[in-house]
Symmetry: C2
Subunit: 641 residues, 2 copies
């Protein structure tokens, strides 16, 4: 049965309401609900939350913001499953106070009302400790003091200090919503800079260790490695994804499994498990966390193919069909059948997949970039992530799904911590704005965390194709400052810009199929620029949160202009990017100063943390010019009144 007070449409929530919304430790999470009761009583409400299974509740008030909508916020302090409950009650004291003021003004007799007020205060006083209780009881007695004037008696009851003491005390008809789940991740789940590279191109783990200081110096905090497991030989791909393999061709790391082992083995050409551990420990010393690739597929040589034939689709002739995503063909990969006919087989397979994660968690890995999750059952991910998070709530899963919006959203809903996005293909200022507003201000913001990648080993797109260095600079600034999490695939800092062909969005001479040695010391490397942007990101808390982005107008539509944060929070950033990598562009901005807490008149400073200049601007329409031919693609400005 419905309770006395209606509490509906509680946020945060996911679309189906069957999975927890997401937050990170220290985040100010907006909470809201529709709350009302029949009649004209005043209500009060709060949100209570706790870690699932714990006793201690935290609490924060909700305020009526109109149209029966109530809002507040909570800030979780621990990682893991939480539950929150909305509570509302009839605020008898506020109702009485409002009512008696009207009656007194109308000259009504209020003798009975004074007694009603006294009884309300007495009832509430019982919830208060010693001194406060006495104060409230005194006010109640004052209301009853018939020897005094009406004025004096009223004053006793309408005392603001008394109102404050009883203000947020739960009262009559207390109604609690059903509990709503909230999953709280560690901070890196919400704010992270990823760097992807192939250790084999650096000579395996031992050589790759030498790259780590440079990666840390650039300011990244996650190093993500493509699969590090043995690579199959059967139908191994040659350079540029050809079917003819030459001696020495290393094969695609995603063709996992050989007689040397499967998903828990290390490719001998990369080193040993001890080498991996040394690599991991060195990364950790440098403040870097290693992310592994969780790619659930098998080369024809994977031990599972012979040990568990029931985990693969068999064709009528007994063969297994290789993976395809028409027109792409993956002759070197067998997909797994995640739903074999016998349920026992399914359970065994899913547990085996879970055990792969457990193994690497045992090796200290807490971040997994999940390959193509949309080609495996959603039900599998819901099960797997819940199982892993039970014992390891600090594990981060990045969903590498580039597919239809409903599928991407559902993967996030059932548990993925972060998600690849369409950013890679959003290149026009208007479409970037529309997309970021959808991610930051739409329903997705409650459970899907975007991770923006300008490139991946598979994707060289938009202005980066044959693009000048400025294209790489500006796409980097966009990724790193539009949202809290982003990543690049190595080579980006050397402006690698050659596509496989005009039609193919992969790289020419893709590192997926060959070893690629690079000259990291090149004098024109983007590394210092990357370091600078990452340092700005770390210095300014405004870059840590998704929801605080706001777009501003630019007279010239080649510019994208947005702020992060709010003056009242002490950290307000303005980013101005010229999206034309070829020509200098100038514009007059149209800043919504009031919306970001800045005075709408008078001068203020705009200090460019990228260029080093400090401007004094006045009003909402400063002039800006950015010349990409001189490496000037963006301002990242601190605004201060």
């Amino acid at each position: 049965m419905l309770a006395r007070i209606v509490i509906d449409d509680i946020h945060p929530r996911t679309p189906s309401g069957r999975y927890p919304a997401k937050a990170v430790v220290g985040e100010r999470v907006p909470v809201s609900a529709t709350i009302f009761k029949d009649g004209h009583d005043r209500l009060a409400a709060r949100v209570r939350w706790r870690r699932a299974g714990k006793r201690t509740w935290h609490s924060a008030p909700l305020r009526d913001v109109g149209n029966d909508r109530w809002e507040g916020e909570l800030t979780p302090s621990a990682v893991g499953a939480h539950e929150l409950v909305i509570e509302a009650w009839r605020d008898r004291f506020a109702t009485w106070r409002h009512d008696i003021e009207i009656r007194v003004a109308a000259g009504d007799d209020v003798e009975v009302e004074l007694e009603e007020g006294a009884r309300i205060l007495e009832a509430l006083a019982s919830q208060l400790p010693g001194r406060a209780r006495k104060r409230v009881l005194d006010a109640a007695a004052g209301l009853r003091r018939t020897s005094c004037s009406l004025h004096v008696r009223l004053n006793a009851g309408l005392d603001d200090r008394v109102a404050e003491l009883v203000g947020d005390l739960p009262d009559a008809d207390l109604t609690a919503s059903e509990p709503v789940g909230l999953w709280v991740d560690r901070e890196r789940a919400g704010f992270s800079a990823w760097y992807e590279f192939f250790p084999r191109s650096e000579g395996g783990f031992v050589g790759a260790m030498d790259r780590l200081p440079a990666i840390a110096e650039m300011g990244f905090d996650v190093v993500y490695l493509p699969p590090i497991h043995p690579i199959g030989k059967t139908d191994r791909k040659g350079r540029n994804n050809t079917l003819t393999v030459e001696p020495g061709d290393p094969g695609s790391p995603w063709a996992i499994g050989s007689p040397e082992g499967g998903h828990t083995a290390i490719h001998p050409e990369l080193g040993t498990i001890e080498d991996f551990r040394r690599f991991r420990d060195r990364a950790s010393e440098l403040g870097l966390e290693v992310a592994l690739d969780y790619a659930l597929q098998c080369s024809p040589d994977h031990p599972w193919v012979t040990e568990h034939p029931e985990w693969f689709h068999r064709r009528p002739d007994g063969s297994i069909r290789f993976a395809e995503n028409p027109p792409k063909k993956y002759q070197d990969i067998y997909p797994i059948n995640f739903w074999p006919e016998r349920d026992a087989d399914r359970v065994a397979l899913w547990k085996a997949c879970r055990d792969i994660l457990r193994y690497w968690i045992g090796e200290g890995v807490r971040i997994f970039r999940v390959d193509n999750p949309h080609t495996k059952p959603i039900a599998f991910w819901a099960w797997l992530i819940e199982r892993i998070h039970r014992n390891h709530p600090d594990v981060i899963f990045l969903s590498e799904a580039f597919t239809r919006p409903a599928v991407m959203a559902k993967l996030a809903e059932v548990g993925f911590t972060q998600s690849y996005t369409y950013f890679t293909w959003r290149t026009e200022p208007w479409e970037l704005r529309e997309y970021v507003e959808e991610l930051a201000h739409g329903p997705l913001a409650e459970y899907m965390r975007p991770n923006f990648w300008p490139n991946t080993p598979d994707i060289l797109s938009g202005p980066l194709r044959h693009g000048p260095p400025a294209a790489f600079l500006l796409r980097f600034v966009l990724a790193a400052t539009l949202v809290p999490s982003y990543g690049i695939y190595s080579g980006y800092e050397l402006y690698e810009n050659e596509p496989a062909s005009d039609e193919n969005e992969e790289y020419l001479n893709s590192e997926k199929y060959e070893i690629r040695r690079r000259d990291w010391g090149r004098p024109d490397s983007m590394a210092p620029f990357i370091a600078q942007v990452n340092a700005i990101r770390r210095r300014h808390p405004a870059f840590r949160w998704l929801r605080n982005v706001r777009f501003h107008h630019s007279a010239n539509d080649r510019f994208l202009v947005w702020s992060r944060g709010h003056a009242a929070e002490g950290d307000l950033m303005l980013v101005v990017v010229n999206l034309d990598p070829h020509h200098p562009q100038e514009t007059v901005l149209g800043l919504d100063l009031a919306a970001i807490g800045m005075p709408t008149h008078g001068p203020y400073t705009a200090a460019d943390e990228l260029g080093g200049e400090t401007y004094t601007w006045d009003g909402p329409n400063p002039y800006v010019r950015l010349d990409p031919t001189r490496g000037q693609v963006a301002h990242i400005l601190t605004l201060q009144a």
Copy 2:
């Protein structure tokens, strides 16, 4: 655990998903869901529905409309609780067909695929009856006929007749959603014209019977009577809501209860229960259904006040406070306390309220206009309506709530059949358009049915105040043709337009507090106009449904222009109203002809069923002139190509 195929966001639904959405018998109810599966398989889906507790399922296909959204419709044929289930499955045949066509085009060897196709057809054939099964099995055999050419074998499998036979058969990974509730009402719940009048002003039930033929002639189908119960004497209101009552003042019918009885008694001044029955039967003969007022409140003389003191709020001095809705005071009415402290008291009270309805249902009443439901707990209504509908699914409840949007919506969600609306205060063309679009095309359309009232005994507003006859004509056309259900309070047809005061939206000499005799035979009565509009409503099925309204442009913004229906459905109406009751206005329309299924070029006829003229228009921009000073406020046009 999640199933193999994701089925999300099923519509129809209510916001909380805890109550059934609504439909009426014979309605084409839109059904939709988000449906997808991992991987690249083709899916198929359907909606199945049945009366709750019955065995027979009905079924209709859903079609993929893009972005993983699937749509279809169902048409319920019985009144009462229904459940619907969405089912989806992997369409192996369509997947196979698509796949093999690509492979053949690419020149791949498809020997194994032909065998796969044969096995799929064999599996599906088992679901088919004799001849069809044979046809499909023949196709399977054809695929295997190695003696034939590839072309011949393929043709056997790609035969369109075979595709049709197996097309909608449930197949692999069949996944069913959880059942979703749908409440189906009888037709009058969706389409009705109400006429409210005070039988006491016609001399009680016996006199009121003489009004019924005229009401039926005007084309109404519901006669709604304010409370017909004994009226209290204590603190009875005098004329114009005064506190001084004169001998002979009849009192407000909403001050229910006297020593003669409460909510199940008949006010002696109206007649006896036998008189009521005769009135009801006469109405029924004339095609009119009687609606009673369900007003859960008591005069101080109501038997409940002494028999059940526990059902009322007591003040500290033992008195009961009369009802108030500041600044309005109802000294002649005690509100009921719907949530007494003892749960047994609450249960007894709620059952007593239910028994009032059962009594009148026993007297053949099936429609109740519910007074001020928003001042009683939402939980009470949810309980009450469900209890009544269990045994009497044909009962219609009209919610008389004029309050905040969230509360109005929730009352509809928990079970009210129809709802009063803000129509009474929406007078500008743009605000009427916005409001009707919200009601007809927003989430509300799935569970809240608007009932538009230009006036009520309490409300004389907008252009009707001191308004000319044209104001009454145009507001009537709006109410009667913008939505399927509407009502007027008697006197409207005589253009009663005197407000209580400039500030007060009630009537001067309100019939709530006095007997009002009217000259129904006045030659200028609106009755013939009303009869004409109601006849048009009945003649054209386009006026029966809420969702088929579409607004069109007018160069002159004093006009409101909308269509109902669609040319493809054989009934397309266009209504053009001049909202200025004082001056002739002219305009050029901007009709979206394509959207309503009309040819965008060439002549078509627009036959005005109100004025009688038939126009030949050509293209989307006809000229229209309406002169309210000559009684010309609207065109109600049948469009035909």
